[in-house]
Amino acid sequence: MFDLILQATYSGLLSGGSYALIALGLALVFGTMRVINLAHGEFVLLAAYIAYTVESQMGWNPLLALPISVVVVCITAAIVYLLVTRLDKNREMNSLILTFGLGVILTNLVLFIWKADIHSTSVGWFQEAVVLGPLYSMRSELLFFITSVVMVAILWVWLDKSWYGRAVRAVSSNRDAAKLMGINPHVTELISFLIAGILASFSGVALYCASVIQPALGNALTIKAFIITILAGIGSIPGVLIGAVLLGVSEALTITLLSSALQELTGMLLLLFVLLALPNGLFGRAGRRG
């Protein structure tokens, strides 16, 4: 029994890590602009399909797809950003609808181009087992997790130390004051969208290597990212990792100790519990005024 729980916790930790990377881009944009980009899952999906094309058409290792997907996804992200800034009334609600519509367009584009079949990498290296004592995992999962942690760390440091990073935080907490300080909020917001694009690219390529992709996935990824973002609360980057791991571990433990049919239920109950007890998420600051 102990072995089971240990493995479940480990598996949950790793899948939490992958959720975190997927959610990070959404969380960043939400924190900076109070905009929930419902097309984020489709960014990840796009990157995953680019990795597939790179592997199947050119025979390269899918990791080499990273530069290409970063370029493509960032261009897409920039377009989404430009459209979002065109909204003037009631941005919070309307951006939700706009990005949702854009997400639908992207999913259908993916469907047009790549059809509905499932795909995953056939590079065997990724599925090889890594055994650490009684703990098993696939190489790809471990890679995904490590990438995730590294990205979270880099982002955290960047937000704290770099000029643009601090500008992002400034704009996030008080847009007008930031303007007075000489920060161009438009540029800053565009940067956060682009970074979200980069994060989405990494997630997408990793997703293709670690699991199976299909066009319907875009929606599911967005919802998962959304849940984790809200769980973590606004303004906390490490919160995203912690929230995601919490979710992953709860799911794995539910499967092991209760029934595997209840995995989804766990996520929902966890979310509700956190929201009702801590209305601003686990680590969120209270909503900004004005």
Partner: protein, 386 residues
């Protein structure tokens, strides 16, 4: 004009008309509502291809009767399926075929039944269909017979059964479990929700707690791959992995050769397709030519359903009973060998002879290994993907 001339003219026109109608073949409209878009698009498109092929084959082989096919996309949605059925009936359909998943079938079948028409499906996932004149070739019981039968032939004493909670999978899994426990096999069930990402916790439970001889799974393609990858990492000590539909297909084998070695799945044809009958060879060649790929089990269902339906329509037309519910009557009289086996229909409209076959992925071939009468190869047992 004087009476005599008028009579002559009328006679001439009438005889011309009579001549024309015998020279031109009767055309019968058949409507098909299928999910061509939406989450079930793959299912719908494959079935549509098979059905279309059957239409072309029938029209080529029949001088007296022609089938005009209308295909409408119902997006897998019951309200749209219902609307699609209404439209096709108003366009003159004499029979309808299609629908997936079950709510969509119900939506369209209701409309067809109210209009007194035959409704044929390949996608109804329940056991009872309370519609008059409902017909389906692939009964769920066929899946269960094949999967349980194979495992019993392997002589297993304990099985862990993983399945998706959605209706179709859950039903087959429950039926398989019952068939096994009735013969004294110990079965542990592991239902999972479609949102699942990582199968390792389930496989680990199986490995450490159940310790079965066989693992069996009923679910969807991406889930099979996820489960097999998790199993390859954890390496539970089992003798074989027996899956359900969607696994033993040429496409899956081509896309995921490493994961699927020695895995069993339900299928109708071996790969490369070895057809004993002329019927089968024709089908495979025509399919490859028209669609540039190998047919899979869904296309076969579409094809056979079409064959059976169109032949019934032709018989009813010959007997002149179409307006009087003749198609339904002829359907009930169906007794035909097809590439999916023998087809007859019982009172519930399902085909009691429907038994799926089991194939095993060996190298880059998929021989049929169950039932013995249809086998084209030997089981690689015990055998695992690792």
């Amino acid at each position: 004009m004087r009476i005599g001339e008028k009579l002559a003219q009328t006679a001439a026109i009438l005889s011309l008309a009579a001549f024309a109608s015998t020279a031109v073949a009767d055309e019968f409209v058949v409507g098909s509502n299928l999910p061509l878009t939406g989450p079930q698009a793959r299912w719908g498109q494959e079935v549509a291809e098979g059905f279309k092929l059957a239409t072309e084959a029938f029209n080529r082989g029949s001088a007296k009767h022609k089938i005009k096919l209308i295909v409408t996309d119902d997006e897998g949605n019951p309200a749209k399926a219902s609307a699609a059925a209404e439209k096709m009936i108003s366009d003159g359909a004499v029979a309808l075929y299609g629908g997936f998943p079950t709510p969509a079938v119900v939506g369209a079948a209701n409309v067809a039944t109210k209009a007194g028409l035959v409704y044929m499906s390949s996608g109804y996932g329940g056991t009872k269909a309370d519609f008059k004149n409902f017909f389906q070739i692939n009964a769920i019981s066929g899946y269960q017979k094949a999967i349980a039968g194979t495992m019993l032939d392997m002589g297993a004493k304990s099985v862990s059964l993983i399945h998706n909670t959605k209706e179709g999978s859950a039903y087959v899994a429950t039926a398989v479990a019952k068939a096994l426990t009735d013969k004294g096999v110990k079965v542990t069930m592991h239902p999972y929700d479609s949102a699942i990402a990582d199968f390792k916790p389930i496989i680990n439970k199986i490995k450490l707690q159940d310790r079965p001889e066989l693992i069996s799974m009923v679910g969807y393609e991406s889930e099979y791959i996820g489960m097999l990858r998790a199993a390859k990492v954890l390496k539970p000590e089992v003798k074989a992995i027996v899956c359900a539909y969607g696994v033993a297909t040429p496409k899956m084998m081509a896309d995921f050769p490493a994961e699927l070695q020695n895995v069993y799945g339900t299928t109708m044809l071996s790969y490369p397709a070895e057809f004993a009958t002329k019927d089968g060879k024709e089908f495979a060649e025509a399919f490859k030519k028209t669609f540039n790929k190998d047919p899979d089990y869904l296309a076969q269902f579409g094809y056979v359903s079409g064959q059976v339906l169109f032949e019934a329509i032709a018989r009813a037309a010959n007997a002149g009973t179409i307006a009087k519910g003749g198609i339904a009557a002829e359907m009930r009289k169906t007794d035909r060998e097809t590439i999916t086996g023998r087809v007859t229909f019982d009172e519930t409209g399902f085909n009691p002879h429907f038994v799926l076959r089991m194939g095993q992925i060996q190298g880059n071939k998929i021989p049929l290994i169950w039932p013995k009468e249809a086998a084209t190869g030997k089981m690689n047992f015990p055998g695992l993907p690792w």
